[in-house]
C-alpha cells in the first residue's frame, strides 16, 4: 500500500502485531469486550469472538448513524464489516492492512438495531488474503455482504 505509518505508533503496532494473544485467541470465553481500536471503541463496537482468521463484532445503530432515508448509513455498515475484517486478518501475527474491499448492500438496518459482523478468512497466499464478512441483524437477516483483500506489511508471511 505504500503505507507510511505516522511516528509514535510503534506501541500500537506492537500490540496489534502480537496478534491479540492469550485467552481471547480461539480458546477464551466468548464474552463481549470493548475493541481496542479508537474508532471502534468510540462507536461502542464490541468484540464478540476472535480466532485465527475470524472475528465477530457488534455495533448498535444510533440516531447519529442514519442517512437521509432514516436507515443506517452504508458507511457505518461498511465500517463495522471493515473492522471485523481488520481483526480477522490481523489475528495471525503480522501487521496486515486492507488493500481493497467490496460491499453489496442487501437490506437496510434501522436505528436501535444491533448489527453483527462475522469475518472469515477465505484464502491466504504469500502476504495476501481474502476475507468474507457478513453483516446481519439480530434475527439473522443479512444486511450486507463484504469481501476484503488484505496485505501483510510486517513480519514473515505466514
Amino acid at each position: 500500500m505504500g503505507v507510511r505509518l505516522p511516528g509514535g505508533q510503534a506501541r500500537r503496532r506492537r500490540r496489534l502485531g502480537r496478534a491479540r494473544p492469550g485467552p481471547h485467541l480461539d480458546r477464551g470465553p466468548r464474552v463481549s469486550r470493548p475493541t481496542e481500536d479508537p474508532a471502534c471503541r468510540a462507536l461502542g463496537i464490541t468484540l464478540e469472538d476472535l480466532g485465527p482468521g475470524r472475528a465477530r463484532l457488534r455495533m448498535r445503530i444510533t440516531d447519529a448513524m442514519v442517512n437521509l432515508h432514516g436507515v443506517a448509513h452504508g458507511g457505518y455498515v461498511f465500517l463495522l464489516a471493515d473492522a471485523a475484517f481488520a481483526y480477522a486478518c490481523n489475528s495471525r501475527g503480522p501487521v496486515t492492512l486492507a488493500h481493497s474491499a467490496q460491499v453489496t448492500f442487501v437490506r437496510p438496518a434501522a436505528p436501535g438495531e444491533d448489527l453483527l459482523a462475522e469475518a472469515e478468512e477465505r484464502v491466504r497466499y504469500g502476504r495476501h488474503g481474502v476475507y468474507d464478512v457478513t453483516v446481519r441483524r439480530p434475527g439473522g437477516e443479512v444486511v450486507a455482504e463484504f469481501r476484503g483483500q488484505s496485505v501483510a506489511v510486517s513480519g514473515r508471511p505466514s
Copy 2:
C-alpha cells in the same frame, strides 16, 4: 435492493427526492454548507459542491476516527466516499440507493487532516448508475479510489 424504508420517513425521502433543487444545483455559489444527512452532519461533513451527477464533500479526520495503526479508519474513508456517491447519484431526482461499492485504499490519512471526496457519474443506464469517487488529502494526494453502483427506486428512470 428490496429496500423497505421504515415508516415516517416520507418527509426525508421527499426532501431527497426533490433532488436538492434551487440555488445549489449547478448554478449556486460554491460555498461550503452543512450536509442534511444526520450521519454526515454528526461527523461535520460539509458539502462543497453539488451538480448533476457530481458532488464534493469534505471531512476532517478526528482522533475518534483512527484505527489501531493511528491513521484514519478505512471505514470513515469509505463513509465519506459513500456519502459523496449518495449525493451525486441522488442529484438528478429519483430516490437512488447504493447497490454495491468497491474501494481501494491508496494511502493513509492522519488525524487533523481534511479529506475531500469528489464523486462523478461514469455511466447511467435504465435505473442503474456507476459513480467514481476519489478521496484526496488537501495537497491532492489520493487516499482512496471508490466505485459505486446505484439503483433508482422511485420516480421515472432518467
Copy 3:
C-alpha cells in the same frame, strides 16, 4: 441492466428459464456433461454438478488461453468463474443476469491444467443475489476467488 435481448433468442431463453429441470437438478448422477452455452461449449467447459443455487464447471487451460507471462489469461479464469455463477444463479427458474462481479487473482494456472470452478449462492433478496465462486487447480489450490451480483429479469422473484 436495461437488457435488450436480441430477437430470435426466445428458444434459448425458454430453455434457460426452465431452470435446467429434470435429472440434473440436484438429484441426478454427478457425471460430467457438455454445457449448453455456446461460449462454454466452444471452450470445452463441462458441467460437473448443478443444484439449487450452486454449480461446478471444469475447463482445461489450452495453449490458446495463455497470456504474455505464459500462464492462463485472467480473462479465461474469470470466464470460467462467471459461467459457474451464471449456472448457479439461473438454477432456480427466473432468467437471471450478472449485474457485476469482482475477482481476486490468487495463483497462476498453467496450460494443460484443468480448472474447477465451484459456485455457491451466498444470499438472495428480492430479485437480487450474491454468489461466490472459487476456482481451483485439480490439487485444490485456489487460483481465483470471484464474487458475483445477480439480478432476475423475468418470472417471479423467488
Copy 4:
C-alpha cells in the same frame, strides 16, 4: 500474488518487461496491429493505441462467444477489458500483474459487433496501481465498466 511464472517464459517476460518500446509507445501511428499475447491473438484482438498508462483494444464478438441469452458472454467482455488493463499497466516498464478487478455489466453486445476497450491509469502508488477500462460498442454505448488493481513484480517501482 505469490506468482510463480513457469520456466521457459524468460523471453516472453523480457519482451513484456521492455514495455513495448519503440514506435508504438505514444509517438507511433495509431494503426491497428495484432496483439502479442497468445490468448488475445487467438481471439483476433487488435491493439489500437498504447501509451504510458493507457491502451485501447478491439475485439469482434463471434458466434463462439455468445452465452445462452445469445449475447456476448460476460467472460469475453471481461477478458477484453482485462487485456486492455494488462497492456496499460505494463506500459511503463516493470512486469505488472492483475491483483484483482471489478466489472459492472451495463448493456449486452451482439455477435458481429466490434467492442472497443479503453484503459486509463487512475492512480499509481508504490508498486500498485488502479486502472479504469470502459468497453464500448462502435457507436459509443457503454457495454461494461471495469476497474483493475495492479501490482508490479519486477523492476523498480516507478
